[in-house]
């Protein structure tokens, strides 16, 4: 495959290096001349010391025969333009963009960039995975405050998965009344079997919450292991 990498920062440098090692044809565009020279000294004369956003230089780099263009500069606007030019002007079949601001992902996708890599999003996702979300979510206090509207997100390890409310020992004074599945809310009947990923909505007295937690969330340790 012929891969055109635009942006000779750390990502572009290691990307080009790895691709060459796995036997691909690679061209790397880096507009900073001294950085370009430095990379060329290290990994060979695959470096084009020009701005990969400029149409003329993209053409010179052979983008019209590239199988993949990877835009990995530190600037989202540059990566967007490189991919759009590659796709719409040079008919490159596959474009990959590094996206720094996760909010730009929708726009990039909408404008036809084939694949998005967002380091910010990946780190964010990794951090959020480590935070246990095995608690009941309190949505609102009802009445004089003695009743609470609660949401329980059924994750692996929950004893409620595969069972219906009639099979659980729901504490007295508590009512499971709705389930949100794939974004759609439906009434939860005594015989509705609950699935992993369901969000169960309940109303209950504050003092039943521990019992409710046991029935819907389960042991946090168990859930974490799952």
């Amino acid at each position: 495959m012929f891969v055109l990498v635009v942006g000779g920062g750390k990502v572009g440098y290691y990307l080009a290096k790895e691709l060459i090692e796995s036997g691909h044809e690679v061209a790397l565009m880096e507009k900073d001349r001294s950085r370009a020279r430095q990379i060329a000294e290290e990994i060979g004369s695959i470096v084009i010391a020009h701005d990969g956003c400029e149409g003329k230089y993209l053409a010179q780099a052979g983008s019209n025969r590239a199988d993949v263009v990877a835009a990995v500069t530190g600037d989202d606007e540059d990566n967007l333009v490189i991919c759009q030019m590659a796709k719409h002007h040079f008919d490159v079949p596959r474009t990959i963009a590094r996206v720094n601001n996760p909010k730009n992902e929708a726009l990039f996708r909408h404008l036809g960039v084939d694949e998005l890599i967002s380091p910010t999003r990946m780190i964010l996702g990794s951090i959020e995975q480590d935070i246990p979300v095995h608690e009941l979510l309190h949505l609102a206090a009802l009445g004089e405050g003695e009743l609470e509207l609660i949401e329980a997100h059924l994750q692996s390890g929950s004893p409620a998965i595969g069972r219906a409310p009639k099979d659980l020992s729901i504490p007295e004074g508590c009512s499971l009344f709705a389930v949100i599945r794939d974004g759609v809310a439906t009434p939860l009947r005594p015989d509705t079997v609950m699935l992993e990923g369901d969000k169960v909505i309940a109303i209950g007295k504050q003092e039943c919450q521990d019992l409710l937690h046991d029935q819907l969330i389960g042991e946090p340790e168990e859930a974490r292991a799952g």
């Binding site: 956003c53 400029e54 149409g55 003329k56 053409a59 600037d75 989202d76 606007e77 540059d78 967007l80 333009v81 759009q84 030019m85 719409h88 002007h89 601001n101 909010k103 730009n104 929708a106 726009l107 996708r109 909408h110 404008l111 036809g112």
Partner: protein, 195 residues
């Protein structure tokens, strides 16, 4: 009309002043507060410091549903991105991006943005003055399409191109060169100082 201008350089600030004086609602955005020194003290519009390629900034500035959106910073790609946000996410009506690279200027006109290419405008102005043949480079280009996929994708962004009043039917570029040739001399003094 509500006019949003990203980039308060010579052209941006002069247009902001002109349209403000003509009674339009003008918002000018720049990431440097010092750029607003170019605006006259009589300027009645709003000047907002922020990144014009950030959707949140544009929304806060009120770019949503603007009648006119002009991306006039010194960075071609920043202009492209701001203009596409305005076009696709914010529903701005008439969007112009300054793109000095002629290749990109032509490419983005084909992707649905009106583009303004200083390189072509100035080269043709020089050629015109010297009586030499004009280039075939773009100057002021009307949009001649929209980006592929814009019709189908249901990703929360605007999916159908809005009508472009004042611009010929889609694919008709005949209106553009004439307006460009009349606009070129007027914009040239400003553009010349900037180089």
């Amino acid at each position: 009309m509500k006019i949003v201008i990203v980039g308060c350089g010579r052209v941006g600030s002069s247009l902001a002043e002109l349209y403000d004086r003509a009674g339009h609602e003008v918002v000018v955005i720049d990431n440097l507060t010092s750029a607003f020194d170019r605006l006259p003290s009589t300027f009645g519009g709003s000047a907002i410091r922020g990144d014009g390629t950030d959707e949140d900034v544009l929304r806060r500035a009120g770019a949503e549903g603007a009648d006119v959106f002009l991306a006039l910073t010194e960075g071609d790609n920043r202009n492209v991105m701001a203009a596409q946000l305005a076009n696709e996410a914010l529903g701005a009506n008439r969007v112009i991006a300054k793109i000095n690279d002629p290749v990109r200027a032509t490419a983005y006109a084909e992707l649905g943005i009106a583009t303004l290419c200083r390189t072509g405008l100035m080269m043709d102005a020089v050629a015109g003055y010297l009586g030499l043949p004009k280039t075939d480079l773009p100057g002021m280009l009307a949009p001649i399409g929209h980006h592929p996929g814009g019709h189908h994708e249901d990703d929360g962004l605007r999916t159908t191109p809005l009508p472009l009043p004042g611009v010929g039917s889609v694919g008709d570029l005949s209106a553009a060169p004439s307006s460009a040739s009349s606009a070129a001399p007027a914009s040239l003094p400003t553009a010349t100082q900037e180089v």
